[in-house]
């Protein structure tokens, strides 16, 4: 049995263990900085210190999630005898062929905190960006017509959005993410409605652009419909004939709840921007040319609204991460043993005053990811305001 590590040794070992992440980050930064004048808004990010720090934090976790299999020192689910609640740097009594230390200590079930933290990033990054993306597509496809067409449609949609927003988020989670709900049709029906939106959105998007060239239109719309409905059947109804797309009821429940909470806020933002942009001259010009309403909304208004939307997208991924953590913290919709950050914090809080490391590691991980996303959003906002 080896000696326990001291803190400088732990930090060195962590740095060494994370080498794939450092390598990937160096490559990304080197390429991006050398090409930054040709990369548009993304390149401009490297002019702002805040933006670079944020971007670094975000890609750190993205690469940690990607290379998690190479980084982890132990199986995140395995329990090692004699390692219960051990402090960071403790040596395994009987390491065998494996890594000889628990770098960040052991939790109450004698599992490796470091490996669970790294694997937890995978759980978060598998859901948060996609949930934010679906929320955005829904918010955009309802917010554009609400702002542009207005009238009864606007009144109705705004009322529904306000209805959802008046719901305290935590209450909605308690009600919507529960084992009893998973067995009912509610998550499936909600998924059926929510996931249909992206398919409709891309169909409308391409149809509005190419309906004057039927050949091209048919090809593009056909491909979108084929892929979209294929994914839709798998994700929403778990009925993918090829078994490629699919979501466990647990995951679907969480996903639907998070999208449902986020979409109305995006809707409000898009509607507000649309109301502002539709008075511009280029919209009037498009109307005079005789363009259809969907073309104007999707190809005139939307591209000009991209600045604030990109910024909000970063913030929303961060917010979704916080929401997922909240769900995990209350043990809602997570698989038992799952290494996601929220439920690890929840498990660690029982022994918090005696052995804080088990909860502290995922807590700081979650905070650094969200902080990175917020700083990235701030950097993007600053840079997009410059021109």
């Amino acid at each position: 049995m080896l000696d326990a590590l001291t803190w400088p040794q732990i930090l060195a070992a962590l740095g060494l263990q994370l080498w794939p992440v450092w390598l990937a980050m160096v490559v990304v930064f080197a390429v991006s900085i050398s090409l930054k004048r040709r990369l548009g808004l993304y390149g401009k990010l490297f002019d702002s210190k805040v933006g670079m720090v944020g971007f670094a934090l975000v890609i750190f976790w993205v690469f940690a999630a990607l290379f998690a299999d190479m980084i982890v020192t132990h199986d995140p689910l395995a329990q090692f005898s004699g390692m219960r609640n051990t402090v960071p740097g403790s040596a395994l009594p009987d390491p065998g062929e494996g890594y000889p230390h628990f770098l960040l200590g052991g939790d109450a079930l004698a599992r490796d905190v470091f490996s669970r933290m790294v694997m937890g990033s995978r759980e978060v990054l598998r859901i948060a960006p996609f949930a934010a993306m679906i929320s955005f597509v829904i918010g955009i496809s309802l917010g554009l017509p609400a702002g542009y067409i207005g009238g009864k449609l606007d009144t109705g949609l705004t009322f529904i959005a306000n209805l959802v927003l008046a719901f305290p988020v935590i209450l909605l989670f308690f009600l919507l993410v529960a084992p009893e709900i998973q067995n009912t049709a509610i998550p499936r029906v909600m998924a059926g409605v929510l996931f249909l939106m992206p398919v409709l959105f891309f169909t409308l998007l391409l149809n509005a652009r190419y309906f004057t060239q039927p050949m091209k239109r048919n090809l593009y719309v056909g491909v979108v419909l084929l892929v979209g409905l294929w994914a839709y059947s798998g994700l929403a109804f778990n009925a993918d004939p090829l078994g490629f797309w699919g979501m466990s009821p647990n995951l679907l429940n969480v996903f639907v709840a998070v999208v449902f909470v986020n979409a109305p806020t995006v809707f409000r933002i898009v509607r507000g921007i649309t109301l502002d942009i539709k008075t511009r001259d280029y919209v009037a010009a498009a109307q005079t040319r005789g363009e259809g309403p969907w073309y104007i909304m999707l190809w005139e208004i939307l591209p000009n609204a991209r600045g604030p939307l990109i910024v909000d997208f970063c913030l929303r991924i961060g917010y979704t991460t916080i929401l997922l953590g909240t769900l995990g913290f209350f043990g809602l919709g997570v698989a038992p043993e799952s290494p996601d950050w929220g439920s690890t914090i929840n498990q660690g809080r029982r022994l918090l005053t005696a052995f804080p490391h088990a909860a502290l590691a995922p807590a700081l991980a979650l905070m650094s990811l969200v902080l990175g996303l917020n700083l990235l959003a701030d950097g993007l906002r600053e840079e997009s305001l410059k021109d």
Partner: protein, 363 residues
Amino acid sequence: MLLFLARRIGVMLVTALCLTFVVFYLTNLPAKLETLAKTQAGARISDAEVASWLDRNGYNQPMLTRYGEWLGVVPGWTREAADGSVNGRCYRLTSVSEPGAAPTRCGLIQGYWGNSTRFRADVADVISSRLGATGILMLWVLIVMVPMALMVGVLAGMREGSRTDRSLSTFAIASTATPEYVSGVVFIALLASSTVGLSPLLVNWGVIDGPVLFQGNARSALEKITFWNFFLPVMTIALYGMGYVARITRASMTEVMTQQYIRTARLKGVSFRNIVLRHALRNALIAPFTVIMLQIPWLLNGVVIVEVLFSYPGFGWVLFEAAANNDIELLLAASVVAVVVVLITQLISDIGYVYLNPRIRIS
């Protein structure tokens, strides 16, 4: 103004009705009722027994009827047994048994909130006693959060781009990136743990008598609030809410500082201090006011997390216990309270905005 108010309240009532119905629907799903039957009548009862239990207790009517009963607009169900005794929703809630003695309608409107299965007590009593505890917590959170947020926002916004602005903005961003369950854990580890953090050091130096500096458990605050047992929960909630308010204040302040009348004041020779305090501050605080009001429903999130984390038995803790134990009546009542709080703060924020903003008030 009156018309605006009437319309706003009308929309609010419709929203409240819709939301309570959604909550009612979700808490009264067949699966949840089955769980309820099993917790009340025994975990091992058969499906037929579950069905008969549900039937006996009036759960077999259509959802809308039951919602009406619960609300108090539809007469409560009654059932006459073979021996002539009468049973029914209102008989149970008023605990009378002679036929005809109970009121016909007994719901939320009449003040019958039902009974909690988790606490074995009247829901109205449970909620009202817990709301007080949460009210005190919220009060302290607002006392800490609002001045801090406004100060950070105003200091950052008065000289846009300065070093103060940059560091305070970064602080605000960091605070919005730290949800309550993260800051709570960090605070406890740092300040309330007897093995790590500051407390063992302070004990070593003989600065403090007890084993820890701050209490990681706020249950004792129910009897007597002290700085040491209440500081951490209050800070945990205030920190997350603060960043957002501070950023809004900053944005509003920077906008005001570029206005013509500020330039005029500056050219007149008014000192910077007076410009900020006399001319800018009042106009800059319109936007933060509405945001602070809208922030209160968001604080509810934090309240639930913090009350669970610090075991402070307030409203949020009740909400969590009700949800975790499938306590339908209690969860419903707690949801109603939560929704009403949200809607009232929205209303106040709307009225406040109109009242504070002369441009809207006059037109």
